[in-house]
């Protein structure tokens, strides 16, 4: 797309502002969470899980594909990473090898599964991804020799982070500095810095991705797949790419979370976990870059605060989720931005059928429609 110099400059300023604000947010996050009842470790967990949600949103928000099986990538990623440390290379455990191998394994897995599932639409896509996730859940659950079944992998200390010039123990804390209501700086571990850097990189990558031609074609396919093929794009390739990227980021998230927790269990692959990524993304704001991360933080923070007080946490989460789906389909972030484009659309687009016509009239083809 051709843009004038003024537009290009405005774009560059917007980019800079976005990166600066995101970095600032990431720096303040672990101490800002303290006075509201959180703790820096929770901030680390939120970022690590948030990476999976950001990836999932590429699939759900930008490609319009609702997967109910992201937990398989997340869970398998955590298992492969921990097995790399404890079983495959016990003599020379290496942080990078564990992460890279986990992501590579999950990427291949996503590619193979993706080739089978991206041909399906809507509910069929959701159900088939769900079926694959169940398959992997039971494989992990039953393959006791490798995975220790429902005990999971426990107490696997992550190797230090080798950077060439230095080797950093991520569990090490910052020096003690009293920050008043914001706790103490020594509560923050190097893990947080690492998680924040990775999250930032993932955000930058995703932002570039969805604004590239690839992202635009993906959106075009989501809005009208048939038309996009007429223009000469192969929707399957683009959807497969989105599926693989989402899967790989889920695997990265799982691998890092596993190394951070020093453990993993088959829980990581359940329908509940897959559903959680859906909940995080929808609550935060689908089709927004930061929404999934904010949704992950919001829900995990609430869970942390509320589940300390009452057993009803998941009930509250469910009610909250239903309320968001009903009243705020754009999620927390989407609700801020919704008004302007909607008003524009109402004036500009009149090709859609008038609201009076029941859209379920064509009952045979209704379920095959792409999400609008």
């Amino acid at each position: 797309m051709r843009r004038g110099p003024a537009a290009a400059r405005a774009q560059r300023n917007a980019d800079l502002r976005f990166y600066a604000l995101t970095l600032l947010g990431l720096v303040l996050f672990p101490i800002a969470i303290h006075p509201i009842g959180g703790y820096p470790g929770l901030a680390t967990q939120i970022l690590l899980v948030g990476i999976a949600s950001i990836g999932f949103n590429i699939l759900l928000g930008y490609a319009g594909l609702l997967s109910y099986g992201q937990a398989m990538f997340y869970g398998v990623g955590s298992y492969v990473a921990l097995l790399c440390v404890s079983r495959f290379f016990p003599q020379h455990p290496n942080f990078w090898v564990a992460v890279v191998l986990a992501v590579a394994f999950v990427t291949v897995m996503a590619l193979l599964i993706g080739m089978l599932v991206v041909r399906l639409y809507g509910i069929y896509f959701a159900l088939l991804t769900l079926a694959f996730a169940q398959m992997f859940f039971f494989i992990v659950f039953k393959w006791r020799d490798m995975t220790q079944g429902d005990d999971g992998l426990q107490g696997i200390t992550a190797p230090p982070l080798a950077l060439g010039f230095a080797t950093i123990d991520l569990t090490q804390a910052f020096p003690a500095v009293n920050l008043g209501p914001f706790g103490d700086l020594s509560d923050v571990h190097y893990w947080y810095v690492f998680a924040a850097l990775v999250t930032f990189a993932v955000l930058v990558f995703t932002r570039i991705l969805v604004r590239s031609q690839f992202g635009e074609v993906l959106a075009a396919i989501r809005e009208n797949e048939e038309r996009s093929t007429f223009v000469g794009f192969d929707p399957m390739r683009y959807k497969l790419a989105a599926f693989v990227i989402a899967g790989a980021l889920c695997g990265l998230s799982g691998a890092l979370r596993g190394l951070y927790e020093t453990s993993t269990a088959p829980d990581a692959l359940t329908v509940e976990t897959s559903g959680n990524f859906v909940i995080f993304t929808i609550v935060g704001g689908v089709k927004t870059l930061l929404g999934p991360l904010i949704g992950t933080g919001f829900i995990m923070y609430l869970q942390n605060v509320i589940s300390a007080k009452t057993d009803a946490w998941r009930l509250i989460e469910g009610v909250l989720f239903v309320a968001i789906v009903v009243f705020l389909p754009g999620g927390i972030l989407g609700s801020f931005r919704r008004k302007a484009p909607r008003a524009l659309l109402a004036n500009a687009v009149r090709v859609t059928p008038p609201p009076g016509e029941p859209s379920a009239s064509d009952a045979q083809s209704a379920p095959h429609e792409l999400p609008r």
């Binding site: 159900l127 389909p329 009239s361």
Partner: protein, 282 residues
Amino acid sequence: MLDGFIRGLVYVAIALGLTIVFGMLRLVNFAHGAFYAIGAYVGLVVAQQYGIVWGLVAAPIAVALFAVVFDRVLLRLFYDREPTAQILVTFGVAVVVEETLRLIFGGTTRTFAVPDALSGSLNLGFTQYPAYRLLFAVGIVAIVLLVWFFIERTDFGLIVRAGIRDRTMVQLLGGNVRLASTVIFALGAGIAGLVGAAASPIYSVDPNTGFSFLVPSFVVVVIGGLGSFWGAVVGGLIVGELQSLTTLVFPAASDVVIYIAMALVLIVRPSGLFGESEVIRG
């Protein structure tokens, strides 16, 4: 073999509700397992007070009422939204129901005893089999036939079937599709509730029960063909047998095998064994 048949029949009954609701409302109901769980708990509570017969009466009625309220209050808003939004809202409701049950009844597993009159076993010539299970099997077969009769042989069923084909046309001809939809939704839910109550002496009940039966039931309807009546029946029996036969041969794979079957069916014949409509577009 017979155990697989019984399990298959449970799947048939749950999948039947899923599939007629999908046929009529074009709705994939992630809360359908929750109906089963509510039925199980209502049956449990009522049966402890008034005996199992009343438990079996109360469960489907309570669940059908719940379904009507759910439909009128929440689902109504989602008829014209995309299928994924419907999945999201029904999934949310399923979570809410599951957690409400957990709060009320606790997370522990419960069973209720088979009534004394039915606790014996019958000699079938080739094997001994618990009487309650046999009665259960007969009951489900009866339900399947009744639903079939209701949909295929009554005037009301005619509206339902026509509504599946062309909603607008039926509305123009004066058929009350709205009412038919609600009845079908309540019927599917009621069956799930009844089976939930009736099956809980066989399979234990816990708040997770809903999801643990829902997911295999999805497998059933996908294998049979979403929206297909006989697809749900045949699919349910296949899945039940597949599970129990694999348990005999290779127990470790018994849970995985049905998902492999489902993936194979979706890949080779995406519209399912009995599905008519094309699933793949473009």
